[in-house]
């Protein structure tokens, strides 16, 4: 599938061989292909449209480096604009965990990777920062969800809140808060059940949990393979519970990760981490350059222009 795109692009670029400043027409022609590339990478339509418009204005009139074609130059400008949009102001890896015990709330759709990411971040906090971490599962719905977190806790040597059958999520959250304070924990992480952003009852439930613990970080865990719906999901979770960042999972796959751009552009919230596998150490802090290259799928061209 991606060969087609490259072929199509090189066709377009061959036609744009005039040197000098980028004409409006050059930019338009190249951006038509870039738009397709973004959409094929699952960047949401309104975000792609907005982005193209911005680049159109930015690129027109810019001078073209001698050894590259106008098309290649446009791709480089697009790449830089992508990095610019994706980059947050702060260090994505630095979680706000002052004032112990600091609560971290994990939220997201079903199956996105919340429980796994809870374990990964707990391990990271313990190993890298020497923090004492408590994990609690508020997932009273999915079969064996609490066991899943307990097994992960045992694997990574992080305590989990004892399971009490029949308790409501808000009450589990209160118990976690109390246990974290009494037990001298630096951080307590609340793993929640997967829920649809349109499920009013379950969204209210997690809002109640938020009100009880007042989290220092609320991380939205999103599958990196997500398509056009990413924008709506991020927006709804942010509107209803307020998120402090996004974790993009399954980036070990061959998905292009356009959801990252969509969510960042629409909510303004930083992408903090990427999940790169199922193992407990398969997590890294977000690097805008790498994702930009993946979304655009034209890393070779970018490298070429950078060298020129």
């Amino acid at each position: 599938m991606f060969e087609n795109l490259s072929e199509r692009l090189s066709g377009v670029f061959d036609r744009l061989t005039k040197q000098g400043a980028l004409s409006e027409e050059d930019v338009k022609t190249a951006l038509r292909e870039v738009r397709v590339a973004l959409l094929e990478a699952d960047v949401s339509l309104p975000v792609a449209r907005e982005f193209i418009k911005k680049v159109q204005d930015q690129a027109t009139g810019q001078s073209v480096t001698k050894s590259v074609t106008p098309g290649q130059q446009v791709v480089k400008i697009v790449h830089d604009a992508l990095v610019d949009t994706l980059r947050g102001d702060e260090d994505p890896g630095k979680l706000k965990i002052d004032n112990p015990p600091a609560p971290i709330l994990m939220v997201g759709l079903q199956g996105g990777g919340k429980t796994t990411t809870t374990g990964k971040l707990a391990k990271r906090l313990k190993d890298r920062d020497g923090k004492k971490v408590l994990m609690a599962s508020l997932d009273i719905y999915r079969p064996a969800a609490m066991d899943q977190l307990a097994v992960l806790g045992a694997q990574i040597g992080v305590d989990t809140l004892p399971i009490v059958k029949g308790q409501k999520p808000v009450d589990i959250a209160k118990r976690a808060k109390q246990q974290a304070a009494l037990g001298g924990y630096d951080v307590y992480m609340l793993d929640t059940a997967g829920r649809l952003h349109i499920d009013e009852i379950l969204m209210q439930e997690v809002e109640d949990v938020r009100n009880v613990v007042d989290p220092r970080e609320t991380l939205l865990v999103v599958d990196g393979l997500t398509g056009q719906v990413a924008v709506e999901v991020a927006q709804e979770f942010d509107d209803k519970i307020g998120i402090s960042g996004v974790v993009l999972t399954r980036m070990d796959g061959d998905g292009r990760g356009g959801a990252a751009l969509s969510m960042r552009a629409v909510t303004g919230k930083p992408i903090r981490f990427v999940g790169l596998g199922e193992k407990m150490d398969a997590i890294e802090t977000f690097e805008p350059d790498r994702i930009a290259g993946r979304i655009l799928g034209m890393g070779d061209i970018v490298a070429l222009v950078e060298k020129a």
Partner: protein, 289 residues
């Protein structure tokens, strides 16, 4: 959300021109259909109609018809064979809904009078076995397990022996989630299939690939690779109770033509429905609102 505005009795009409076609194409792209397929659908719609004046409802109906036409040939329930046990292998990427779908299917087949056995072939993920055991209880179906970390292929082999001994009609085998670009894990899956075939060369009789409706264009790669490795015979799309429209199914139908057996519409045991092309097309185009 809706793809187009709600229609009224004396709706304004608009000329079907390039501008409108581009708008329609974008509506389809927003459903995850992908650029190529969206273009194909809109150009089919345009054929012989450019310059005609159409209302929003007429346009939606036209679009829904085009989509339903592509989807009708692939809307087929999972076939049942006379072979006992009929082996159903369930595969897919992480978190797509394999285990839940097995629980739902087991319940449906049991309800239809079949003797069903489930094998917990995800010996990797934390508490995957426990999760499936709960589904087994809910469906009233026995679950065969092996300890965490053991070889899923040998579990599948043992499960076939057990299912034969017990005279089961259906053996459903759960597998661990795996991304299709992980060649080591895909090789593990290929081995599961090989071992099953040692026991019965006609098995697995169905290999179901479970896709998540929130997934975008990567679903195309998923189908492509899983099909090559494990001979996928049909698809199930889960999480269509959310706001994702699953437009990529149209691209998949177009490209691979694999049957779509069922859709997941929730987390409860009864939340599995047959795939209905007209309903799907109506939801995708906003005709149902």
């Amino acid at each position: 959300g809706r793809l187009l505005g709600r229609g009224t009795t004396d709706e304004p009409r608009r000329v079907l021109d390039d501008d409108m076609l581009e708008q329609l194409e974008e509506l389809l792209i927003a459903s995850d259909m992908g650029v190529d397929t969206a273009l194909r659908i809109t150009s089919n719609m345009a054929e012989g109609r450019v310059g005609k004046r159409l209302s929003a409802t007429e346009i939606k109906e036209l679009m829904a018809q085009e989509i339903a036409r592509v989807m009708e040939p692939v809307a087929k329930p999972m076939p049942i064979y006379s072979k006992r046990p009929q082996v159903v292998l369930v595969v897919g990427v992480n978190g797509s809904g394999k285990t839940t779908t097995i629980g739902k299917l087991a319940s449906q087949f049991k309800g239809a009078g079949k003797k069903v056995v489930i094998a917990a072939g995800d010996t990797f993920r934390a508490a995957a076995v426990e999760q499936l055991q709960v589904w087994g209880e809910r469906a009233g179906v026995p679950v065969l397990t092996a300890p965490e970390g053991s070889d899923p292929a040998s579990l599948a082999f043992d499960a076939m022996t057990r299912a034969q001994e017990e005279g089961a009609d259906l053996l459903m085998i759960d597998t661990a989630g795996r991304l299709q670009n992980r060649s080591d894990l895909m090789e593990e899956l290929a081995k599961i299939v090989r071992v099953i075939r040692k026991k019965d060369e006609t098995a697995p009789h169905n290999t179901l690939l479970v896709l998540d409706a929130t997934t975008g264009q990567n679903a195309l790669n998923q189908v492509d690779v899983f099909r090559k490795i494990s001979d996928v015979s049909g698809l199930v799309m889960t999480k269509l109770d959310g706001t994702a429209k699953g437009g990529v199914l149209v691209a998949l139908a177009d490209k691979f033509g694999l049957p779509i057996h069922a859709i997941g519409v929730g987390e409860q045991i009864d939340d599995l429905a047959p795939f209905d092309p007209e309903e799907f097309a109506a939801a995708l185009t906003g005709l149902d609102t």
